[in-house]
């Protein structure tokens, strides 16, 4: 794992590592860096699909709930109005769409990131606490097929980082 001072050198290092053929690599930054996602090819994820499904599920729940209650389970005739009065269902259908969509977004975010994860090997690196503050880290994981302790360390050192450290498992 290599530590950098500024986002530009991190993105450069990540790009070089990707071009070298490393795939099991991750960067740790105190804020999202658009270019880094591009370099690591992280632009696609399944979250929009999850949210869409959550929203559809919420909309159906909202509408069917109201249909079931007002038409089948508890029908009341109020001034001869139709039991299936869909215009008045719109609001709750809409609200539940949003609610389920938002819940799907948050649960999907946690699921796709594998959070909560109280322990992760990177936390063993003493300087890693700076990753949430003002430092930028690039980590090449040992399970990468190209990984070789000496060569990879040398490669990272050639990127002129502040420090290269080994992550204990």
């Amino acid at each position: 794992m290599a530590e950098f001072d500024d986002p530009t050198s991190l993105v450069m290092a990540a790009k070089a590592a990707y071009q070298q053929g490393f795939r099991k690599l991750d960067a740790y930054t105190p804020f999202p860096i658009e270019e880094l996602h591009e370099v690591l090819h992280l632009h696609k994820n399944k979250l929009p699909l999850i949210v869409l499904l959550g929203g559809i599920c919420g909309g159906l729940t909202g509408y069917l709930l109201q249909y079931f209650v007002t038409v089948i389970y508890f029908p009341i005739n109020i001034a001869g109005r139709p039991l299936h009065s869909w215009p008045s269902y719109i609001i709750i259908t809409f609200e539940l769409t949003i609610l389920f969509g938002a819940l799907a977004a948050v649960l999907g975010l946690l699921g796709l990131c594998g959070l909560p994860m109280p322990y992760h090997p990177t936390f063993n690196v003493p300087r890693f606490s700076a990753a949430t503050q003002d430092r930028f880290f690039l980590c090449i994981e040992a399970n990468d097929p190209l990984f070789d302790l000496q060569n990879t360390t040398r490669f990272l050192e050639s990127m002129e980082p502040k420090e290269v450290s080994q992550v204990a498992n």
């Binding site: 960067a27 999202p32 880094l36 979250l47 008045s88 949003i98 819940l103 949430t132």
Partner: protein, 460 residues
Amino acid sequence: MPEDQVLERTEQEHPIAPGYTFGTVTDQIAAVVMTKHTPLFWFLWFSIGFVLLQGLLVSAVLLFWKGVGIWGIRMPVMWAFAITNFVWWIGIGHAGTLISAILLLLNQAWRNSINRFAEAMTLFAVMCAGLFPLLHMGRPWLFYWLFPYPDTMNMEPNFRSPLVWDVFAVSTYFTVSLLFWYVGLIPDLGTLRDRAKSLVAKYTYGVLSMGWRGSARHWSVYETAALLLSGLATPLVLSVHTVVSFDFTIAIVPGWHSAFFPPYFVAGAIYSGFAMVLALAIPLRSVYGLEGLITDRHLENSAKLMLATGLIVAYSYIMETFIAWYSGSVYEQQAFWNRMTGPYSFEYWFLITCNVVSPNLLWFKKFRKTPVLLFISSIIVLIGMWLERFMIIVSSLAQEYTPSSWGLFHATRWDWATYWGTIGLFLFLFFLFIRALPMISIFEVRTLLPQAKVKEEVRG
């Protein structure tokens, strides 16, 4: 064009003061939380909130004991303070969601230093709002009857009623605001975990941050989530006050039964919300020395939004009156004539002064650049918006169709105690929040720094 002019322009567009680094931004915002020294200002306002909160508790207990009769609600004015306060608080919450969701979608970078506490404001304002319909129910312990669940009475809520829509709208709004706020907090909780010295703080923030480590893979999903949540929150926030306005427009009371209440209510909500944002931001930034992060430009932008929404509200008042006259309905005409000249005319003209006349001072740049004046004007707007809801609710109900059933509303001391009590609850929660959590989003402010830009040669 000479080169220095171009440089000046980029300088001006920058939302925060120059000279910050990733480290100093983190230090400055985290220092408010990670300190043993709590300023006297905090203790003062926290105690005021705490004392007022006791008033709320006492009046709520008395209300459970004796019933809603301790308030001044008598036929025909059965809504009065409770619903006025409900609409007022919900409206205040709207600015938080507007700042966090709509301004994110519009890519307004200046929002980054005010969104966190504005979202917290939303959350606490919705809590205060939610209390009123509950207390107003008469038998608050049966509140769960509002939800559709299979019960032994074989009864279900009436889905054709705007009051049931309101239950769904407000509870969804609260849940989504809470989720949005918490998701925004996760990276900053990670920062606090890594900075905490004491073991308790380390574990608390550690558990809350759920093991966030700033991984690029996580950030890419995180950014998508933030965008999607904003996309969901944007129509939601507009719908909530629309549904609140349906509580009135679906009824046939003169002065309520009107087709343009939804946009009028939403504009009013954002108007009062920005007033509250200013009323909170101005003292906070000077006490905690955050003028470099919440700059005069933030205040000015908020003031401009306040002016714009204030003008929409003023236009609505004019149209409301015009339509009442143009409708040809004597009841509508009478309702508005009563507002202007009847028993509540003092409140009406006071409201016009607060909401229509006073915000016009915001046209002057000098006024927008003076925080003290902005603070005073935001308090005036908050009073004005409260009066607006009071006017709509009380004056319309007091003098409806049949003069024989007219009656005036007189607030009791418990009406006031409950109202001030929720202000206490709000202050209590808000000051706990600024003491325990970063009131400015640290990671979003980091992205505003010039150092955060990746240099051109690496791209592509």
